[in-house]
Amino acid sequence: MISWLDIIVQGFLVGGFYALFATGLSLMFGVMRLVNLAHGDFIVLAAFAALALVQQFNISPLLCLILIIPLMAALGYLLQRLILNRTLGKDVLPPLLVTFGLSIVIQNFLLLTFSADSQKLPLGTLTTASISLLPGLNIGLYPLAVLIIAAAVIGALQIFLYQTKLGAAIRATSDDATTIRLMGIDNRHIFGIATALAFAVAGLAGVLMGGYTNFSPASGPQNLLFGFEAIIIGGLGNLWGTLLGGMVLGVAQAIGAEINPGYQVLAGHIAFLAILLAAPRGLFPRMAG
C-alpha cells in the first residue's frame, strides 16, 4: 500500500519538471500561435551551456542560472525578432518548418561540440537528499524544490500577465496582434518579449533538469513531447492546468515504471491519449471569456 503511495508521490514531484518544460511552449503558443518544435532542444542547449560554464569555471550549476536565464531570454528575444517574426502569417506551416530546422541545427551543434555522451550537471548530494514523511515514503528534496519553483514561476507569470501594463499588452496581443498596433504598441516587440520569457523559463528548466537526469544532444524532442503532453492534459491556455497536467503525466510514468521499467514513457503516452479521448480540451480548459 505504502509503496503505491510512494510511487504516486514521486510521480507528482516529477510533474514540476514537465510543467517547467511546458510553460515556455504554452506562452509562445498562447501569444503567437507559434508551436516551437525546437523548444526541447533549447532546454537541452541551456543544460549544455551550464555544463560548459561548470567545467570552465568550476562553479555550481545553480550559480550558472544567474547567467543562463538572462542569456536565454536575450537569445529568445533575438530569435523572435530576427527569425520567427518573419515566419508568422496566415500560413501555419513556416513557423513549424523553421523551428523544426532549428531543432536539427541545435542537435547537431551540440553533437559536434559536446559529443553524443550522456551528461549530468554535478550537484553532489543535493539531488539525493530526502525527507521521510512516513516509514517507506521518502520525498526527494530536489524534485520537491523543482515543483515549488515551477509553481512559483507559474504564479509569477500569472501576476505579471494579469497585474502589469506589459502583461495586459501581451494578453491583448494574444487576442488580436493587429489591433494592438492601433494602441501604439509594436506587436513584433511584444512577440519578442513573450519568447524571451519562454526562453528564460526554458533556461531554468534546462539547468534544473540537467542536475537531476542525464541529458544528451538528442534529449530535446523527448522534453518537447513531455511538455506538449502536460499542456494538452492540463488544458490549453491554463498555466496551472499545465502544472497539474505535468503531475498526471509524472504519476502515469511512475506507475508504468513500477509495472515494468520499459513501460515508463509508454505509460505516460497512454495516459495522455486516454485523457485526450475522454476530454479533448484537457482536464482544465480555460474558461471562456
Partner: protein, 233 residues
C-alpha cells in the same frame, strides 16, 4: 493642410482597392466618408493608419510624408482609429482596454476619468470583460480606447454598425464633445442622413475612387444617390 492624401492607392495582394484617392482634412474638421460596401472606405482608413502599406509620398500629416510608416508609430504622431467591428480585446476588462489605449504615452485632455464622464456607463462596468458588454457599450469602449491616445485625428469606422437607433444617437452624441477638444474626425458611415447632420464635408467613394465631394450642407440627396450607386439611367 492637416491630413492630405495624394493619388493614394492600396492593394490587397494583387487586388487593387484604391485608385488614386485625393482627400484633405483640416485641423478640427469633421469629414464624412460614405459609399456602398466594397467602395474602399475601410481600406482608406487602414491605409491612413498604416495598417495597409502606402507609398511614401501619398499621405501627408501636418506637412510630413507618413505613407508607409508603421501603425504603432502613427499613433504616437496622433492618429487613432476606432476600427470596424470595434475589435476590443476580449481577455481584458473594460478598464484594461481603455488603459491600453494610452500606451502610446501621448499627453492631452483625455484620460480615464474624462472617458468615464463622456460615457458614465463604462465606469459602472469598468471591471467587466469588455466583450460581455452590450453592442453600444462596446462601441463606447472602442471610442474611449482610441481617445485615450489623445489623437489629433480620430478615424471612426462604422461606429453605428449593428446598433439600435437610440443607441446610435447616444454614441454619436459624443462626437461634438470630441471635436470640441480640437480633434479632427473622419467618420465612415452607411447611414447617410446621420453623417450629413454632423459632418462639415462629405466624400463619397465608389469602387476605390472619390466620386463626389463637397460641403455636407450643399449636397442634395439625388446627387448623393447617383454618386453612391453609379449612373442611374
Amino acid at each position: 493642410m492637416f491630413l492630405q492624401t495624394k493619388s493614394l492607392t492600396a492593394f490587397y495582394g494583387d487586388f487593387q482597392a484604391l485608385f488614386g484617392i485625393d482627400l484633405t482634412i483640416e485641423a478640427g474638421e469633421l469629414v464624412g466618408l460614405i459609399g456602398a460596401n466594397g467602395a474602399g472606405k475601410t481600406t482608406l482608413l487602414r491605409a491612413i493608419t498604416g495598417l495597409l502599406p502606402a507609398g511614401p509620398d501619398s499621405i501627408f500629416f501636418n506637412g510630413a510624408p507618413i505613407g508607409g510608416m508603421r501603425a504603432e508609430n502613427l499613433v504616437r504622431l496622433g492618429i487613432a482609429m476606432v476600427p470596424e467591428g470595434r475589435k476590443l480585446f476580449p481577455s481584458l476588462s473594460v478598464e484594461e482596454n481603455l488603459k491600453l489605449g494610452a500606451a502610446s504615452g501621448r499627453q492631452g485632455a483625455w484620460n480615464l476619468g474624462r472617458i468615464f464622464k463622456l460615457f458614465p456607463i463604462l465606469e459602472e462596468r469598468r471591471h467587466a470583460p469588455a466583450t460581455k458588454l452590450s453592442g453600444g457599450q462596446q462601441q463606447m469602449v472602442a471610442i474611449g480606447r482610441a481617445l485615450m491616445a489623445n489623437p489629433t485625428l480620430l478615424l471612426c469606422d462604422e461606429i453605428s454598425l449593428g446598433l439600435a437607433p437610440i443607441v446610435i444617437a447616444e454614441v454619436y452624441r459624443a462626437l461634438p464633445e470630441i471635436r470640441a477638444s480640437g480633434t479632427a474626425i473622419i467618420v465612415v458611415e452607411q447611414d447617410i442622413a446621420q453623417v450629413m447632420r454632423i459632418a462639415d464635408r462629405l466624400y463619397c467613394l465608389r469602387e476605390g475612387r472619390v466620386v463626389l465631394q463637397g460641403p455636407a450642407q450643399s449636397m442634395d440627396r439625388h446627387e448623393i444617390a447617383q454618386a453612391y450607386f453609379g449612373a442611374l439611367a
